[in-house]
Symmetry: C3
């Protein structure tokens, strides 16, 4: 089911070079500095329940594709906000398996096939005939201890993994992880979207809660900044080396001091305009950069997604169900205020991700090839795929080189997909480099160094996890 | 002149796989669900006149390239609005042939070389030396019955072909086709641009004529909608399964009921603003979607072309002479009103085409991978080419899979180019799939199924022509 | 260090074809119709100083990448505006060499490796261990006469080279070149950005100086145009066949006559708005086109760069130090006024360059495939690279053909990189064509003709240097 030469270039000589490069990096540890796994998995180490809750219901990549061809989310076991019953796990799994051909050609299929094999020793293809049997096999295997979350970290060679928590998260699993001595291995990340986006209905309340948590007056600009400063310190105690910011656009702003408090007053009032909200988000990115310069946390920006484009779905089943779609980004213009201020600040590292591939060769690679602070995040989300990786390297390397890239991160909530995602990246890197070797623009030893760098070291450096 | 392995990948193993995949689909029937051939050809089955009127004067791909290097449209026999004389067919053909090297590297050359060979048995290259002889050979062959339009359908294996008529078209050829029992084979398509675009100088008059045709008061919003409802039914009687909408942008709107009549009043008045016209077009797309939900017609949107960018040409010789140029599109934002309303409506199918390839990986493939209604149209116009097809599949398959694609359509007014355009698509599909097989991400049997699907079934399903 | 098959496709058969195509064009003369070498080099034929001033300090491609990974411009010997001392050449060179791995995968490394070998016979790799020795070797070789600028022209087979001078340039080297009989070989280019951009602080003064130079009243619109007319004639005396226009966007305008003088009055006043400045630049492009129609000079537009995106750098060390970054362009919309007016004017040639690759397949190739005046400039700046060349040909040839391309130009101030840049282009062209030959869409003889055309003749024709 999994051919050892999968994803390598077709030309036999280039393939041989790719295989050699790959073999030397295949078993390197995994550094996973950005993602969305559940920290309580690692704190409490529970057993996973069944095939459907592992591979189907939490994976919006998978759900969306089934819906796109007319399948009903009820029949796939996706919970409803109104609590009405949906399909049970086995029925949902069988429905999914019967339509598994929809995933031909997609990375989801690569990941699931690989994870079924790697995690459960499944050798037969998933389809309507094998669905029941595979469901049972998975259920049986999940009873063993070596598929509990912490065992998965060990089996997969995950040296370090970062989860992502909002600013107001109570961080309870992190307190347990601290007791277990796992804070350096399972790190949190500070994602203050809950207190930086005035368009959220609970924004004012959230900001007040942040004030209460940190003993600051968050109705005052300076108090709000101090609250972030303190909350970031708490996150660092739980292993955080980085912050993350999910924003609809990459707009940043650098307001004069006297303009800040009036802006905060407006977004806390009932009369805030959309432009006020936009400006507040833009200014907060620059404020977060200022705090990063101060406290050394690496800053990540994930920009350019229109969230919840299907209001009906949002109403029925909530967010993260497959209706988030990329839109264009304009990094040169949008990041100018932040970079002008902090683009050369010593020690500051800003990792930028976007889903608009057109910005890579045109803007991001040239920018990363100039600004000391800027590193390019790996191909994200829809572009975390064999062809997405190939297009990314094609577009960025000539202008940014290899050393302005932040390596790879999997950005997933699907624990079992982590090793395969890193494997696809490493195969992609080996293939790209093999082509350069065969076309005589890189020596094989140089290629091997770069392959190793992009597999692990680049991520360690980018996220300041060198001592992990 | 036509190598059997043309367009296949260079790597010998991959080429062998591509050839095998191709051989199993090469002779499948042709389903041509969108195009611009003249329905009277099939109704009256006349003889074509000569080489120039077959290959040169009606083909704006060809004319434009000759003009771009300074050739005069008079010398190419392109009719003038002022009736002044232009070159005769033979002279025009010789002028074209003498500059045929301009087409090296372009799909036009592939199509013409193939059609000369397939239709007329021409084996020698077209150039200034052979132009006269080939003109004569074509003229001679055109006298035989097997190059009349209906014979071409048979010889090319065209199972079904759709033409495109404006809402006010008298549909006379269709009435003849009905008598001949050909309505299921030569289908019309409802393209109401003539009554949906207030920027046309004849818009108000056209809307009145639509009212007269359907016995509705089209000055009233509800009467106008009813007129469309009736006219669509007439088109369905003549085989239409689909509508088509050519729009400068993909803007859609979903106005509240009370806002509709005032908008119609404004665009029928002398005081309409450009924004009124834009909003009317946007709202009419959503209205057409509503009617499709009601009557089951498949909806097509062709968006993102700036028409007639050379006013001098327009004045001298009218539209469709080569000066239409693509512009960017923003599908996420523009289609939101329509999709929010009808994106999950049962049975509704919306096929979207654009010429802005940057929207494919960023927006359209993710959207098609979510919305049940949305299917991606094939690479259109300038991108209906070997490299355009390769870029399209590269950009869309990983996020949309193979089953959210609408297969292929040729969108041409050049009858003899239809078999070759489908052949180039099939070779492109076989090449893409062979690469996946050789790189071990798809089994050969799966690849063969997908190749067959993309050659015919995808188009049949997308256009609800399954029972054709 | 330089493999003879470098950059050719991996597939052995295709590689063989590429090599054959390349061998027939490798030694053709170099036509370099656009660039930024210093004309005094050719007039005075001095010796170059040392390795650092040849390869490091003037090359913003190189400087930027070093800065992006935290190196200090002081340590690289980049002069400061405040005159504070910076590293001496040897120290700067050693610092650069120690970080030369940053350039792996970039065209800069290709160019420098090639130039070290071609110019100085260096066979060992540049790194911290070899830096001193190579610095000495270069210094030694620079004492020989065959590395003086005019000898480099001969050794590299540079048939003709164009430099670029602003409208107010005193053209002193050109006067010397005229005495030496070199005006046809070292040509200037008219670049009137200094008198066309009201956003420059010295704009009004510059326009007055242009008036003084040409004995025209440049406060009057007609006088200003006449001043350009005369200044262009002076440039033509010194070999210029072309003008060049560096503009932030490609906006053009075609104002009515009565609106022109008031616009000039506004931009010369203290009250000009940014929109006035934009409109003036836009109108001046159309005026320059009008003068080109009149005097036959080829017009070049280089659009879509945000200059000096790091204000701190600008303040410390001035422009052209690596902080210029591309932004999107919209050629269909922006060029409409100019092309509507002059797009079909006999003899007018407009060569358009941009750094937004997304515009190539979508807008520029279709436009070049229609408008007689429009030719596509080669991949520019960040895209003058092996992958940039491959993407360019992939994107433009199918819609524009080969004969609407302006061939290659190197656009460099680095004299020794000229032969290698042309070599990379020729290898890229040979590789692209070899793939077509192997995939049977082009005959080998046709491919050879096109390879030759794109290597030299295309540039000669595009720049009207046919008789050079």
């Amino acid at each position: 089911m999994l051919h050892p030469d999968r994803l390598f270039p077709a030309d036999p000589t280039t393939r041989r070079i790719a295989r050699e490069l790959y073999e030397a990096i295949a078993d390197l540890p995994i550094v996973s500095p950005h993602g969305h796994t559940d920290p309580s998995w690692f704190a409490q180490n529970p057993r996973f329940e069944d095939a459907a809750s592992l591979f189907l219901t939490p994976d919006h990549y998978v759900l969306r594709m089934l819906r796109s061809r007319g399948l009903d989310y009820d029949d796939l076991g996706v919970p409803r906000r109104d609590g009405a019953p949906v399909a049970a796990p086995r029925a949902a799994w069988k429905h999914f398996a019967a339509h598994y051909d929809l995933f031909l050609g997609t990375p989801s299929r690569l990941w699931i096939d690989h994870a079924l094999n790697w995690g459960f020793g499944i050798e037969e293809p998933l389809n309507e005939h094998t669905a029941d049997r595979i469901f049972d096999q998975i259920g049986e295997r999940l009873k063993s201890d070596d598929l509990r979350p912490r065992s998965v970290l060990d089996r997969a060679g995950i040296e370090v993994i970062a989860t992502t928590e909002f600013a107001l998260d109570p961080l309870e699993p992190q307190a347990e992880l601290e007791k277990l001595g796992l804070t350096q291995r399972v790190r949190t990340t500070y994602r203050p979207d809950d207190v930086c986006d005035p368009d959220r209905p609970d924004f004012a309340e959230n900001l007040a809660r942040l004030g209460a948590l940190t003993d600051c007056d968050t109705r005052q600009w300076s108090g709000m900044i101090e609250a972030h400063r303190r909350r970031r310190a708490t996150f660092r105690r739980f292993g955080a080396t980085a912050t993350d910011h999910g924003v609809p656009t990459a707009h940043t702003a650098d307001l004069a001091e006297p303009d800040k408090q009036p802006l905060l007053d407006r977004v806390l009032s009932q009369n805030a305009t959309p432009e006020d909200a936009r400006l507040f988000r833009a200014q907060m990115l620059t404020e977060m950069a200022a705090l990063s310069v101060e406290d050394g946390m690496v800053m990540q920006i994930h920009a350019g997604v229109r969230r919840n484009t299907d209001p009906t779905l949002m109403r029925e089943r909530g967010p993260d169900r497959g209706a988030d779609i990329p839109v264009p980004v304009s990094p040169v213009q949008d990041l100018a205020p932040l970079l002008t201020r902090f683009g050369t600040a010593p020690g500051f590292q800003l990792i930028f991700f976007c889903l608009d591939e057109t910005a890579y060769a045109r803007e991001l690679a040239p920018m990363a090839g100039y600004w000391p602070a800027l590193l390019l995040g790996p191909p994200w989300w829809f572009h975390d795929s064999p062809r997405g990786i190939a297009r990314y390297l094609d577009a960025v390397v000539e202008s940014a080189g290899f050393y302005n890239l932040a390596g790879f991160n999997d950005d997933t909530r699907a624990l079992l997909s982590i090793p395969v995602r890193h494997d696809v990246w490493r195969r992609g890197v080996a293939s790209f480099l093999a082509d350069m070797v065969e076309r005589k623009t890189l020596g094989q030893a140089q290629a091997q160094d770069i392959a190793r760098h992009l597999s692990t070291d680049a991520a360690r450096h980018a996220y300041k996890m060198d001592n992990a």
